[in-house]
Assembly symmetry: C2
Homo-oligomer: 449 residues x 2
C-alpha cells in the first residue's frame, strides 16, 4: 500500500532543507511517488516547499505540482518565475498544464505561455484554455495516439512509437481518415495479435464511442462509466478528432461531484476541508445557518399568532419540534432520492405517477408514525382529541413534506439549477415553516380555539 | 453520445418478440452496446427479457448480463438452466463471473460452477468466491498479462499474444520472477518503443504499486485514485501475483460509496431508486423517521417538564423549533466535514486542536446568529432578558452541537463503525433533544422560573 508521510519523516526533510543537504534530500525523495512528494510539499512552509520544489528534477516536480492541493500549489507558484513555471508545464500533458495555468493570476498567463519551449505544446494549451469549464473540451488532453486507416501494420507501429513517446499512457489507438475524421479505433490487444502483413483498415474496429467537445463533463462521466471506458475521443462539429479524455480525470470529477452534493446536503456551500481556517469554514457554513435561523424566526412568529391556544392546549407547543423534525426528515429523504435519480439519469415514469406514489408512501409512513404518537399520548394521559389532532397533522405534514421534497428538486432541475441545493437546509427550513403552520391550522380546525 | 432507449424502440422490440421475429431482433440489436441491451432487458417483462436474452449471441448477452441491475438480473437468471448460466459465465472475466454467481441462490452455485466448460476458469472463479466482500480479493480478476524477467522481447511479445487473447483489456504488463513473485511492471509504451534485442530484465520498471489480497476496497480505491492508476496488481502474503484490479471496478466502488454516504446523510438505509416499490422505500426510510419521532417525543416530554414557564415566558416555547433546527444544522455540518475528512484520509492535527477550532468557529457563528435574534426580538418588543436568554442559549447550543457533530463520527470511526451513519438523522435527533434541554435549563438559570 502507499506510504504514509510520518511526522518524523517530515521533520527530517525540514532539517535537511535548513542544512541545504541537497544530495541527501534527492536521495531520500527519489523513491517517492509524485503524489507523496505533493503531500510533503503541502505540509512544508512556503519557503521550504519552494526550495525543495526547485531542487527536484523537473519531471518529478511537475507531476508533484499536479497532485498538490490548489492552495498549496499557489503557495509554490507565486515564488516561481514565468520561465520556471514554463519548464514544469513543458513536462505535463496539455490538459494538466492548462488546469495549472488557469489557476494563475491573469497577468502571468500570457507571460508563462510565451516561455513554454515547445511551440506545439504551447499552442495546444492555449486551445484547451478556450473551452468552457465543465465541458468535454476542458477535460480533454491533446495527447493521443492516432493512426491513418491507410497505413500498414509496420508503418502503424513505427509511427505509433514516436507518438507513444509523447503520451503518458496509451489507451485505445484512434483511427482517422485523411481529413482527421474519427472513423474507428484499434485495440492494443488486436495490434499485439495482428500479423505484419495486415493493414490498419483490415483490423480496426469501426464502432467507436466519442463525445463532442461541448458535451457536459457529467454526461461524459456517465457515458464512460456506463460503457466501462478508460478513455474516450473528443470530436468537434465536423467529427474531427481533437483530443481524448482519460478515466483518471473522470474519477476525479465523479469524486468532486459526489463531495459537492454531499456537502450541499449538509449545508456547506464551498469545498472545505476539516483543516481549513475558521474564516473559510464560516464563509461556507454561515449562509445556511442564517437560512435556518430565518426559518426558526418565521416559525416563532407563526406560533406567536396562535398564542391564544397556549393556556388551553399547551401540549401543542411541546410538539412543534417533533412536527418540524418529521417534516424536515421526510423532505430530505424524498429530495435525496430525486437528486440521485437525476444524477444517474434513471428517473422513469410520469409526474402524476410519481405524485401518487409519494402520497401512498407518505400515508403508510404517516399512519405508522401516528400510531406511535397515539400510544405515547395514551401513556401520558393526553386528551383523545389532542392525540387525534397531532396524529392527523403528522400524516398531512408528512404527505406535503414528501411532495415538497420530491418536486422542488425536479422544478429546480427543469430550470437549470443544480437540484442538490434543494436537499438539506433549504428543504428542511421550508418544511419546518410549512409543517408548523399546517399543524396549528389543523389544530385550530379540530380543537376550535 | 450514448443512445437513449426510447419508448417507441422498446415497443417495437416487444412487438418483434411477440411475433418471434428473431432475425429482425438480432439485426436491430447487433449495433447496440451491451450496456444498452442491459437497459432494454431491464425494461422488458420477465418472459420477454428471457426470450431476448436466450436469442442473443452469448458474448453479447454475457456482457449485458453484467451491466444489468441486480433486480433485473435475478428476473432473467431464475429462468435459465445451470448450463445456460455457465455458458454466459464462460464468456466473462473471472471477477465479473464471481460477482454474478454470488448473487445466485446457494443451492444453484455448485451446480452452475460444475457446468462451466473451462476448468481453469471455474477454478479461478471458485478462488475469487472465497474472498470476503469488500476486500481487494473480491474486487480482483484473475485475468492479467504477466511476463518472466528472463524472457527476451520477442518471446515476451509471443507469449503476451496468447495471454492477451484471454484478457479483455491490457493495462500494465506485470513482471514476475520464476516463483511468480511480483518484481515489477513493463509499460506498453516501453514495449512499443523497445528494440527486439532487448530483454525483459533490461526494460522493466522495478517499482510497482501493489495491494494485498486482504486490503480493504476503499483503501485500494484511495490508492489508485491518488496515484492515478488504471490497474493494480494484487499479491498474497508471499508477494506472489494472484490477480489485478482495474479502474472500472473502482469507479463503480467510488460511486457506490458516495451514494451510500449521501443516502445515509439523508436518512435512507438501503440502496433504493426513485422507482422502487413503496414497500422497499418504507423499509429504507421508516427506521430513520421513527428515530426522529422518538427524538420529537423526548423533546415534548422535556418541554412538558418546564410547563411552569408557559404562562410567564410563552416566547421560549415559540423558539424551540429554532433552537432544534440550529442544533441540527450545525451538527450535520460538522459531522459532514469529519466524515469526508475520514473518507479522504486527510484529517491532520490533534484532537485538542480540533476541539478548540470547533469552539472558535461556533463562537463566531453563534455570535453573528445571536445578533440576528436580538434584532428580531427588538422589533417584536421582547423583554431584553428574554432576548439575552435566547442569544446565550443559542451560542452554547451551537458550540455543543458542533462538538457532538465533530466527535461522534470520530468515536464511531475509532470503534470500526461507518461514521457516515452519524450524519443526518442521528446527529439531528441527538442535537434536537440536547439543544432543547440546554435551552430550557439556561432559561431557568437566567429567568429563574
Amino acid at each position: 500500500m502507499g506510504s504514509e508521510i510520518t511526522k518524523e519523516f517530515l521533520e527530517n526533510i525540514e532539517l535537511l532543507i535548513s542544512g541545504k543537504k541537497n544530495k541527501a534530500l534527492l536521495k531520500l525523495l527519489s523513491e517517492e511517488h509524485p503524489a507523496d512528494i505533493a503531500e510533503i510539499l503541502g505540509d512544508l512552509g512556503s519557503d521550504d516547499a519552494t526550495y525543495l520544489f526547485k531542487l527536484l528534477d523537473s519531471e518529478l516536480s511537475a507531476e508533484a505540482l499536479l497532485e498538490i492541493d490548489e492552495d498549496d500549489r499557489e503557495k509554490i507558484l507565486k515564488n516561481l518565475s514565468a520561465v520556471e513555471i514554463a519548464v514544469e508545464l513543458d513536462e505535463l500533458d496539455t490538459d494538466d498544464a492548462a488546469d495549472i495555468i488557469s489557476e494563475l493570476p491573469e497577468e502571468r498567463v500570457t507571460e508563462v505561455i510565451s516561455e513554454i519551449e515547445d511551440d506545439d505544446h504551447a499552442k495546444d494549451i492555449v486551445e484547451l484554455l478556450r473551452y468552457e469549464e465543465g465541458t468535454a473540451g476542458s477535460l480533454m488532453a491533446k495527447e493521443l495516439v492516432k493512426v491513418k486507416e491507410t497505413w500498414t501494420i509496420p508503418t502503424c507501429v513505427r509511427k505509433m512509437r514516436s507518438q507513444a513517446q509523447e503520451v503518458r499512457r496509451v489507451h485505445s489507438i484512434y483511427v482517422v481518415d485523411k481529413a482527421n475524421h474519427l472513423i474507428g479505433r484499434l485495440s492494443l490487444k488486436d495490434l499485439l495479435v495482428a500479423s505484419t502483413k495486415d493493414n490498419v483498415s483490415n483490423i480496426y474496429i469501426p464502432k467507436v464511442d466519442s463525445v463532442h467537445v461541448n458535451d457536459k463533463g457529467e454526461d461524459v462521466a456517465r457515458l464512460m462509466q456506463k460503457y466501462d471506458l478508460e478513455a474516450i475521443p473528443v470530436v468537434d462539429d465536423d467529427n474531427v478528432l481533437i483530443g481524448r479524455i482519460t478515466i483518471d480525470d473522470i474519477v476525479d470529477l465523479i469524486k468532486e461531484e459526489a463531495e459537492k452534493d454531499y456537502q450541499m446536503a449538509a449545508g456547506i456551500t464551498e469545498d472545505i476541508d476539516a483543516d481549513d481556517s475558521i474564516w473559510d469554514k464560516t464563509k461556507a457554513r454561515l449562509p445556511w445557518l442564517i437560512l435556518g435561523l430565518v426559518g426558526g424566526l418565521a416559525a416563532a412568529s407563526i406560533m406567536g399568532g396562535f398564542e391564544e391556544a397556549l393556556t388551553k392546549y399547551p401540549v401543542l407547543f411541546f410538539f412543534t419540534p417533533l412536527i418540524a423534525a418529521m417534516a424536515g426528515n421526510v423532505g430530505v429523504q424524498s429530495s435525496a432520492i430525486i437528486v440521485q435519480g437525476l444524477a444517474n439519469d434513471n428517473l422513469k415514469g410520469s409526474l402524476v405517477n410519481r405524485m401518487f406514489k409519494e402520497i401512498g408512501l407518505s400515508m403508510v409512513n404517516g399512519i405508522i408514525l401516528s400510531a406511535f404518537v397515539f400510544i405515547f399520548g395514551f401513556f401520558l394521559g393526553y386528551e383523545i382529541h389532542i392525540s387525534i389532532t397531532i396524529a392527523i397533522s403528522l400524516i398531512i405534514v408528512i404527505i406535503l413534506a414528501s411532495l415538497v421534497g420530491t418536486f422542488v428538486p425536479l422544478i429546480l432541475h427543469k430550470n437549470g439549477i443544480d437540484p442538490a441545493v434543494a436537499t438539506g437546509p433549504f428543504i428542511t427550513t421550508c418544511n419546518d415553516i410549512f409543517g408548523i403552520s399546517i399543524f396549528f391550522y389543523i389544530a385550530k380546525l379540530i380543537l376550535g380555539f
